[in-house]
């Protein structure tokens, strides 16, 4: 790789001519190849957030319970008893398209490191997945690889995977989304940060050895896909979850001592971003001696080592008198440990290799002069309201179709491949409640965890869609009885250089911000993934649906008070919230009419909050046997989900409202909850007293008299039929030959 460093090469590295001019100005000379590499990854979209930073600043990030908001490796919130929950979500979209298994697996590995690097033991993983159409021949392979990869990594490290979400849409055909979230627990007084300190302190490398993995992955993660994607293949990284497990145990053991001054995982752009960020945050300089870096391959250059994305590595600054303690711990866990540098007072990063200075860059300008773009935005034209839509199939047939549709069908095929019980603290497993519930070991505290986003809403109206995603996460936590605390997000969008995409981004973020404020639900960490688009052979590009995935975290003082969504016999079913029959962008419209049309349902954040606070209080009072929010598919789908989960039928008794039945049953009006209670009338009285619309929908079957879903018309849909329709999609799509049996 003996290329002259010039503007042409800079462009290949993803730097614009202006950005390159700025590099020249900072350096006062042409940069070396290694320096160019460092600039290009640090100034990539992935590391610098150059298109999104201006908007991200508008998100609310504080609350009395927030300990660390965005800016650290992960967000930190107070969950009581001196403990903190540390959590974050991150994408591995492009790698998962190129190599679904390794792409998804290393995505899980990366987000785990962001969390345990702060001193937290990871206790739960979630994943938000978007795949192309099931009709696309490539989709099956990607689903298979992604699900195996997430399971392969998470199961091996022994962190339970407890939740997530999955959508299918042709907009993701060439660009699936794999967003992984990890939640960990630490003592509030034992949280580790990444700002380096202490001139002369040793810089220590631990974990796996460095190879030529994923060189330029960070810039690749910011470049749109085209046929060249094939040529970029060798940049795929292979994960080693076994080493990750050892790394978790070794780091947590070391964190019991006072040896660590600062610590940071080596994520995208590996050694470069970790060393630059640690030194930059601490306002110190850093000298690295690459000859000391543990290497897996022979003849690696400085450029390659600085940009390698080999997995399962961490960088630490240690107290000099504690390096032996640290080394002994890493040796016990059979991990590489090497002192590869020291902190200096130069304010520069200086990289030496084989007796030569390969890079010498002032850290201040590298960080402060990172590009920041206020890219032009164009608004998305608002959708006309839907006119009246007919019901060509009838309520029963539509319900069966909806519960069996790819976006609504049982996800058991997926979660059955994820170890959801390891740790012995999983109170509600996937499918059992609107949010997963995990107890904090040794306490009664329960954490409620969910991921949510409805991309078709965001595509139709990004502001409403952004608010809706936050509101749905809040609602899902609330429906278990938990107090929502904070969110992490993963903002997946197309090419920010296109005004209409940037418009979606800006609007979605403003909708999110509005909802976060209204619901006291700040953003404490997150990730942005742009350039999610595919170039077709004819040169046109297809963007993904704008997908601001939200990961929500809530807390229960006593995990035993959490409620699930399974209906039980002999209960009244009460609907909280207003039903207007909004069919725009509904699943019904798509599955029955094949249309994605109209505006999304409006989000009334005041009502949302009032309803949620009411529901949470009822759950806290012990009045609620089961609770489920109304989302995709509307009211009847939500009822069917409760009935299926509890294997309990229900007779629905709903007076004609003047609304078309299909609009009533399948409209996706927001801010609604279904509560199964002993005394429906008392609940309704309490709701009315609080100024909240509530209505009894029916009564669940008596014990032992399981009839199915009985509609007001008298028609009955047996639970067996619903369950069969619900269970069918994934196994038939993914394992059409059936499992190989003896």
């Amino acid at each position: 790789m003996i290329r002259q460093v010039d503007q042409a090469l800079a462009r290949e590295f993803g730097l614009t001519p202006d950005e390159y001019q700025n590099v020249l100005a900072i350096m006062g000379r042409a940069p070396s190849l290694t320096e160019l590499g460092i600039f290009s990854v640090m100034w990539s979209e992935h590391c610098s957030y150059k298109s999104s930073r201006a908007f991200l600043r508008t998100l609310p990030t504080t609350a009395p319970w927030v300990i660390h908001g965005p800016g650290e490796n992960a967000g930190v919130v107070d969950i009581g008893e001196g403990l903190a929950a540390i959590f974050k979500m991150e994408s591995h979209n492009h790698p998962s398209f190129i190599e679904p298994y390794q792409g998804a697996a290393t995505g899980v590995g990366g987000i785990l490191r962001d969390v345990f690097t702060m001193g937290a033991r990871p206790i739960a993983n979630l994943n938000a997945l978007r795949f192309g159409s099931p009709d696309n021949p490539a989709t099956r392979r990607i689903v298979d690889g992604v699900v195996r990869g997430i399971g392969g990594y998470g199961n091996c490290v022994g962190v339970p995977t407890v939740g997530g979400e999955v959508n299918f849409h042709p907009a993701y055909d060439g660009n699936p989304l794999v967003n992984a979230m990890t939640v960990g627990i630490a003592r509030q007084d034992r949280i580790f940060l990444s700002a380096a300190a202490g001139i002369g302190n040793p810089v220590v490398y631990v974990g796996s050895r460095t190879g030529r993995d994923g060189i330029h992955g960070a810039t690749m993660a910011s470049a749109e896909f085209d046929e060249d994607a094939q040529a970029k293949r060798p940049t795929v990284q292979v994960g080693d979850p076994f080493v990750e497990k050892l790394l978790i145990e070794a780091c947590l053991e070391l964190m019991q001592t006072d040896a660590i001054v600062a610590i940071q995982d080596m994520g995208a752009a590996g050694l470069t971003s970790s060393s630059v960020e640690m030194a930059g945050k601490g306002a110190v300089g850093i000298d690295l001696d690459l000859d000391a870096v543990p290497q897996r391959e022979r003849g690696m250059t400085a450029y390659e080592m600085m940009l390698s994305e080999s997995q399962e590595r961490m960088l630490m600054v240690l107290r000099p008198d504690r390096t032996e303690v640290a080394q002994a711990i890493f040796e016990k866990w059979e991990l590489d440990f090497a002192i590869i540098g020291t902190l200096t007072d130069t304010g520069h990063i200086v990289v030496r290799h084989k007796g030569r200075v390969e890079a010498d860059i002032p850290l201040g300008p590298l960080a402060e002069q990172a590009p920041l773009y206020h890219r032009p935005t164009a608004p998305t034209p608002l959708r006309e309201p839907l006119g009246p839509v007919s019901d060509p199939v009838g309520i029963e047939a539509a319900l069966v179709r909806l519960v069996g549709s790819p976006d609504c069908a049982s996800r058991a095929w997926i979660w059955d491949q994820y170890d959801s019980t390891v740790g012995g603290q999983t109170v509600r497993r996937p499918g059992a409640a609107d949010a997963a519930i995990v107890r904090v070991e040794g306490t009664r505290i329960g954490l409620a965890l969910t991921t949510d986003c409805t991309p078709r809403y965001v595509a139709a109206d990004a502001r409403t869609g952004g608010a809706q995603a936050v509101a749905e996460a809040w609602r899902n936590l609330t429906a278990t009885g938990a107090r929502p605390l904070a969110i992490t997000d993963n903002l997946n969008f197309g090419n920010p250089e296109k005004p209409e995409v940037m418009g979606q981004f800006a609007d979605a973020v403003s909708g999110m911000a509005e909802a976060c404020l209204a619901l006291d639900f700040p953003v404490v960490s997150g990730n942005v993934s742009l350039y999610n688009e595919t170039r077709a052979p004819d040169g046109s590009t297809v963007s993904i649906l704008p997908t601001p995935a939200i990961g929500g975290l809530g807390v229960l003082e006593d995990a035993a008070t959490a409620v699930g969504l399974a209906l039980a016999p002999d209960l009244d079913l009460v609907l909280i919230g207003e039903t207007a029959g909004h069919l725009g962008q509904s699943l019904w419209l798509r599955e029955v009419h094949g249309l994605e049309d109209g505006p999304p349902p409006p989000v009334d954040l005041v009502a949302e909050r009032r309803h949620g606070d009411f529901v949470r209080a009822r759950i806290a009072a012990g009045e609620v046997a089961a609770c489920h929010d109304v989302s995709d598919g509307g009211l009847l789908v939500a009822i069917a989900e409760m009935a299926m989960a509890g294997d309990t039928g229900i007779a629905l008794d709903v007076p004609q409202s003047g609304m078309a039945p299909h609009a009533y049953w399948f409209g996706e009006d927001q801010g609604r909850y279904l509560l199964a209670v002993r005394d429906g009338d008392a609940l309704i009285r309490a709701a009315h007293a609080a100024g909240i619309t509530a209505r009894k929908l029916g009564q669940s079957a008596r014990s032992g008299r399981n009839t199915g879903l009985i509609l007001s018309s008298g028609a009955t849909i047996s639970l067996a039929r619903l369950l069969a329709a619900h269970a069918r999609f994934f196994p038939e799509f993914m394992d059409p030959a059936g499992p190989v049996k003896r």
Binding site: F242, T421, G424
Partner: protein
């Protein structure tokens, strides 16, 4: 009952096991490191679940050669009780302390869900909390739980009553339809000849608390305490 739990690199269910044992004994189990060569005085050694050495090569193969396994073997030969769950079961078969082997699940996918187990042999230290024919629920979480052994071994296991548990349905029916992973004869757990070593794939230790969905796994631990209380 003094219990020790062996931690190998990659073990990940040692804390689940410690919690279950603590619930039954009221005392803390000792954590043992795979490189230890001597065991403290113990009534029970447990090899817990996980992915020892990443489950690379074959599940349990590398752990079976760990230094501590020499001590575990002597402990078993001297009549000590050993329990291996999931990866622990795989290690015990790889070490030759239990017959047979555990292959990739027949469906080739990792399986994580609750299963039902029918108790095949009562009255052992491990199963005295149940009667033969009892059915209990336990989570399973494995990619390689497909129990195989040659015909003579299977016949001997049957003939000598060394099958501990079989995968069944809630009513105790055992057939191909209740076999999650292809195991020969739906075998989920087996005993050594002296009935003092037990290996099983599912995780009773993850079902000992009503909050986690039930206490079906508790009789195993309560029974051990009764049998081995020193």
């Amino acid at each position: 009952m003094r219990a020790g739990i062996v931690v190998f690199p990659g073990t990940n269910r040692e804390r689940d096991m410690a919690i279950a044992l603590q619930g039954a004994t009221g005392t803390q189990a000792v954590m043992l490191w795979h490189r230890d060569t001597v065991l403290p005085a113990l009534d029970l050694v447990v090899l817990p679940g996980g992915f020892s050495h990443g489950d690379y090569l074959r599940c349990g193969a590398m752990a079976a050669h760990s230094p501590i396994m020499t001590a575990v073997r002597s402990f078993a030969e001297a009549g000590g009780h050993v329990l291996g769950v999931c990866n622990g079961f795989q290690i015990l078969t790889e070490a030759g302390l239990l017959p047979g082997a555990l292959l990739r699940n027949a469906g080739l996918r990792f399986l994580s869900h609750d299963c039902h187990l029918r108790v095949e042999r009562e009255g052992t230290a491990f199963t005295r909390g149940w009667s033969a024919g009892d059915v209990f629920r336990a989570p399973l979480a494995h990619g390689d739980g497909n129990y195989v052994a040659d015909r003579e071994t299977l016949e001997r296991l049957d003939g000598d009553g060394l099958v501990a548990f079989r995968y069944s349905d809630a009513a105790g029916r055992v057939d191909a339809g209740t076999n999650p992973n292809g195991s020969a004869g739906n075998i989920a757990g087996v005993f050594s000849r002296n009935l003092r070593v037990l290996g099983l794939m599912p995780h009773p230790e993850d079902l000992v608390d009503p909050l986690m969905g039930g206490i079906d796994g508790k009789p195993l631990f309560d029974g051990l305490v009764q049998a081995l209380a020193a």
